[in-house]
Symmetry: C2
Subunit: 232 residues, 2 copies
């Protein structure tokens, strides 16, 4: 399949490499490829500049948001949540229409300092905002509740643990479920929560995730719903 991954940060890079390793055609979308490739400094988290990463991963192409989305069957929103709607608009509603749009972003709001809060929250979610803004896209919220490296290699965390899917389109959720299975997620670990409004629940896991990260001193953990399937 042909994937567009919107976002050049660690999450986007991690997803892109995994997809390419599975034999998919992957294009990362960015605002201006020349600017992205011209950056020579590590980002604010100490990650190498995109050009260095691109050198190691030549199988993943870089293009504008719109070019990446136009050429894809499936689009992955791996942007910072605060700019997601703007970036998806740049990708173009016409390039998202009819496609699965896997939204793995979180609407973290750093305006009040650390730890970030969420915006939207409680009675709305980023997943719902995206679905409302792009009604012809088939938005599936998933993977937003864990560190990037675990998203594509769940075996990094010992024992059973859970990934959630939320969305209005059953076929799109099924396609994402197959994708998650190809990433190594055991099917009983993939919980379909319901429609896209259930993205409120998964986005609202971020505050305790951030506190656990701080308290435990590492990010190699994940949520598990113990007892979810009593018959299993």
């Amino acid at each position: 399949m042909r994937f567009a991954v919107l976002g050049t940060g660690v999450v986007g890079r991690t997803i892109a490499v995994k997809l390419a390793s599975l034999g998919h055609e992957v294009v990362i979308g960015t605002r201006d490829p020349k600017t992205t490739l011209a950056r020579a400094e590590p980002d604010g988290y100490g990650n190498p500049p995109f050009s260095a990463w691109q050198h190691e991963n030549p199988q993943v192409r870089l293009a504008t948001f719109a070019e990446a989305a136009a050429g894809a069957d499936t689009v992955v929103n791996a942007t910072a949540g605060g700019v997601a709607l703007e970036i998806l608009a740049a990708a173009g509603a016409e390039n998202l229409a009819g496609k699965v749009l896997a939204d793995i972003a979180n609407p973290l709001d750093f305006s009040g300092g650390m730890p970030p809060s969420l915006d939207p929250v409680n009675t709305d979610s980023l997943g719902e905002q995206i679905q409302r803004a792009f009604p012809e896209a088939k938005v599936v919220k998933t993977l937003n509740t864990m560190n990037a490296s675990i998203m594509v290699d769940p075996s990094q965390v010992p024992g059973e643990h859970t990934v959630f899917v939320s969305g209005n389109d059953a076929e799109a959720k099924q396609a994402v479920t197959e994708l998650l299975a190809s990433f190594g997620w055991p099917r009983p670990s993939i919980i379909d929560l319901g429609d896209i409004t259930t993205a409120r629940g998964t986005e609202m896991l971020l505050p305790i995730w951030l506190r656990l990260y701080s308290t435990l001193g590492h990010a190699q953990f994940n949520f598990h719903i113990a007892g979810a399937y009593p018959a299993a």
Copy 2:
């Protein structure tokens, strides 16, 4: 020890029975004991009236919020979150001062219909509101992230799963941790998240808990933090 459990609903009753079975002196607090005992109908969830429950559990006494709190070493807030501050005020700041106040309530807001949202949320929590309103109480948020029956019998859910504690007073958190251990919680399953502001994170688990309850069709599940302690 002498416990006051504020709230006559299922959560309060469940905690009270468990505490009594462990040999503690337990008084349930209510607004007006005569009114509570005069109710002859099941509550809105189909639970038997308090008088029927009291008949089965004569070792637990019923008293006003203030009488219950005045006679206790430790107070448990098992009220509906929306009335918690009012009920704690009725219990009396002087009867809470210097005591451990285990807050196991959630600020569910049903004003917008089902499923409920949270109020406060995101940049505040019920746990923090209670600590601010009763600065001399030692508020510990705990047990608010699971069904009542699991709170006092974690073996009901198979495998490892987690209970969180949040609070500003280390000794109070230690006392609550001992209490949780006496309920059957293995010590590695008890995660101290940090100060009372971390109650935001545990209260914000409620939206996904409610969606899981709906999707799974039962409440006999709990959150587990897989991989929390890599060395264990």
